[in-house]
Amino acid sequence: MSIMVNKMFTRAVFLAFLSMFLFGCKSGNQKQPAEESEITVDVSELNQDLFQDINEAKQIFYSLPSPLETAMLIRSAGAIYDEDLLNNVDNSGNYTTNKSMALNLGIYTCDLSFASLYDQTQASISYMNAAKKMADGLGILDAINDETIERLEENINNRDVIMDIISETFMNSSSYLKENDRTAIAAIVLVGGWVEGLYLATQMVPDSVSLKNNKLVDRIVDQKLSLDIVMRLLADNSDNPDVQSIQKDIDDLKAIFDKIIMKTSSNLETSVDTATDVTTIKSQTQVTLTPEVFKELKKKVEIIRSNYIS
């Protein structure tokens, strides 16, 4: 008995130390100090300024548009549904590494959201199954289960319910990954969805079309603002080799986005609609984008996305 108790004691102490090591040393989301910069009207510099006091000890979150928001942004810009642009669900069997499964969980969730927003019922079910395969492969327990697919099928003509199911499954996946200290995988999933959105949007702009007063082009240019967040999200997980390889792609994109000049008013004003209690943030932004730069961006996004789905 005494030997048994001693063993139990040893195990208990071991587990205590193990738990302290695993959970007590977690660095959370605290970031390294960011460089300070002066306020100008250039968007890139303004965003640097936004991050200026990040060195203080506090929890920091970087929020990229989710695949659902990305798909909604493309649709609201007037995009037309084109299933040929989506990643074929038959490719899902090709993804066996954590990196490819994480990227394609984001990609398929974006495609699923896109198909659902256009009421493409059969495609929605197929893409939910493809996303499930990626989540299962990553060991994300019960983020998408058979019950989810059944709920989707039962409510296939109710877009609000479908949106709710997609939002819930994505939250299940990201919360599971974050709770289990797999933040690098969570970041890769988000980047996958973001790149897919960028790919769909750029492909939907024909080469011949004018870039001025084009809502879809405006949405693409807006991603210059999210690029900062993509980079910081990846930098937080840069000890992961998969993240390092994605950082190179994002650096390439940044070099092109840097050629797009975006200037915004430095002091934003607000006005509140008293009837709806909705605040409008008023501002003006000027963008300079040449057809050559847009073409270069479109090509680079196509190459990166092609690598991710192959």
Binding site: Q52, S63, E168, T169, F170, M171, S174, I229, L268, I281
Partner: protein, 146 residues
């Protein structure tokens, strides 16, 4: 023997409490805070953490022109009312819930897309002799599907 049992109990406590606090935050975000977004559609992102009185958190996100958003920021019942501010890139405060009776939500739209900072603080209570409380704080976003 009693000593060993106590040590075993402490070991399990050390192992499972951190996991449980995360799990509670997921449940809190999903079952409590998400409700504050209705009728907006939750974007699916998960931002929640255990914070202690006096602690702060920040979130950076790009919001897009032409979209209508709702931000919901909620804290566990044991925490004081959560303070939050929304700031633009020049650090101008666009909204502070302190001026709105510590409301948990803010609805807004933008004329042009902007990256904004959401600064969250768990205030400390007046009673400094009491042990500071910890609890979940969730930051959630909803948008209107168009």
């Amino acid at each position: 023997m009693k000593r060993y049992v106590t040590l075993i109990f402490i070991s399990f406590f050390l192992i499972f409490i951190p996991l449980n606090s995360h799990a509670q935050c997921k449940g809190f975000a999903k079952n409590v805070c998400k409700m504050e977004l209705v009728p907006y559609t939750h974007d699916g992102n998960y931002h929640a953490a255990v914070l202690t009185e006096g602690e702060e958190a920040e979130l950076y996100k790009t919001f897009y022109s032409g979209q209508e958003y709702r931000i919901a920021i909620c804290g566990s019942d044991n925490l004081p009312e959560i303070e939050f501010k929304i700031m633009d890139a020049s650090q101008n405060v666009l909204f502070s819930n302190k001026d709105k009776d510590f409301t948990k939500t803010w609805d807004f739209k933008l004329e042009t897309s902007q990256q904004l900072k959401i600064a969250v603080k768990v205030p400390t209570r007046g009673d400094k002799s009491a042990e500071p409380e910890s609890g979940c704080v969730a930051i959630m976003f909803g948008f209107k599907v168009k």
